[in-house]
Symmetry: none
Subunit: 183 residues, 4 copies
């Protein structure tokens, strides 16, 4: 069977987002191969993490494209966003929890670009009068990350059904973000 790079990266993100201290052995076993083989494809742990970052950024940017954040009402854009990005939540969670480690890196540029697009979306919501202005766009962005992570864990622990989690996140975030008197 040929080497399935995507599968390895997703499995690794799942594992590392739950257990940041997982050893290379655990990562390799979770991906169904030996340490040595994992090392052949990703020479060094750092290389694996970089690959994860690249992969995560690529996937998230694709999701952002799919969601067409700039189009239509903000509320609908947020719904599309969460629906598109939720499948990659564990990858995003991993990037989120690791992003203080590679500060100043070129990877950070990709990450910042994503972060900026999300923040812009929420800022647009505020400018449109749809979103409250006392909850800053930066906070809404950060809260989205937190809720995606919480959603992943809630599903993993069986507290929320996989099919419900997108709705749960969307409604909580929009409910909190939107003005109550919006007509």
């Amino acid at each position: 069977m040929s080497f399935d790079r995507d599968h390895v990266l997703r499995t690794t993100a799942d594992l590392l987002s739950r257990k940041a201290t997982a050893t290379t052995e655990e990562v390799a076993r979770a991906a169904g191969m030996s340490r040595a083989t994992l090392n052949r494809h990703f020479p060094g742990r750092d290389a694996l993490v970089r690959a994860l970052e690249d992969f995560g950024i690529t996937e998230c940017e694709a999701a952002l494209e799919t969601a067409r954040l700039e189009e239509g009402p903000v509320e609908e854009a947020v719904r599309r966003l969460i629906r598109a990005i939720e499948p990659h939540a564990s990858l995003l969670t991993f990037l989120y929890s690791e992003n203080q480690l590679f500060e100043g890196d070129e990877q950070n540029a990709g990450w910042s670009r994503i972060d900026e697009r999300l923040t812009s979306l929420f800022r647009r919501g505020q400018e449109d009068g749809a979103f409250r202005i006392d909850l800053s766009a930066a906070w809404l962005t950060e809260a989205l990350y937190g809720l995606l992570a919480a959603g992943t864990w809630a599903v993993t622990e069986g507290r929320v059904a996989r099919n419900d989690i997108t709705h749960m996140i969307v409604e909580l975030l929009l409910g909190g973000a939107m003005r109550k008197d919006a007509s």
Copy 2:
């Protein structure tokens, strides 16, 4: 000066919630002592993590007492809760991200008790008609953890002012949780 156990535990929680892979050396230095001394008081890294769990459970339970969750309108109880628990957020964040470890332990009993009290609070909100019923109490509990973690990181990264974070969390969570047509 005598050994300040609380100080050590708080410092350690701060560090580990930001960098789960921190070495014993880093932990000890952050607490202002040598590795050997840290080891004298907490024999082994596991012992330190266990102590953090005990400490976190104790602190959170004290915060829950302070918040008097069963009293008055749910909305106010949630506000009191977040205000009381936010100072311990980094501890909670660490425990939250680590809570897959030591499963089945007696520590878990303490943690489950806290979790149950929070879930009860949200369930009461739903029974009172104040909270939406399509967002389950279990999810609101999990979301609270996620927002506390996001808040901690947002403050650490300078995206949100420390003085604002309680408001940000409260408003987002309550805004999302409460029924829109509540009179």
Copy 3:
């Protein structure tokens, strides 16, 4: 070349019988490998000592079989015994000096069995009228251990030629154990 477990154990016994405080590094180097590799095969110093005990028991039991202790005159059986067991003397010496450790363990059962067989041999000598009865069988057994250890050290320090040591031990032990008036 494949890993030679016997070689490692023999080398280790040689070293530890001379210097009980030898570090893992010294043990590994004496066996011609790195600490890490030694640890791969014997995870932890205790595991190595346990393996030495198992190995020693096995080797000694084999030597006891070879010596056919129950056959022929006791004097000849003792000669065969010492001849058979002397090559393993450093292993035995190490175990002898360490045998207060791991008391009550299953290892001790194996050791006790050997001890019992030796004691039985000397008891037979007394019952046959060949050995003095004022020197107890238990003491003769213990003395045998002491003389084997002394022999190992005497050879190591160059006080006695390797080829002579069996004779030295045999003659001293038998000379002391046998009745003077034996016809």
Copy 4:
């Protein structure tokens, strides 16, 4: 209570002759004091070992004086020797097992002097025609050390009564050493 140097040294010799890897903590507790206090009197582990060596040499030399090795028949001299030196056997055992560690040291001079006197005694026995010449004087000396150590252990483990051990050692050694046809 005043500090009892002799008691500490004897206790330490007892412990170290049985367990060469005993920690300073164990040594101090066996002597009935804290690590720190032991260190006050013997600054550093080496200092303690040196003191033990000095003490052991002094005690052994005193025992040798008492035994008047040069006087009378060799057989009687050996009996007096073992009777005099047996109470210090654990000290001697410790020195014996440690003596490869401080090679070339000045301490070694004292030890060698003792060793030489013992060897001379056995050589005299051979020259007198009382002892066999196929068992070298060096070996008999070494065997004496081994039997003293074995005797100490045999008593500790309850295999031989304390009151019998001198007889056991004497008879075994003399029986082995003496010519059978000695009239």
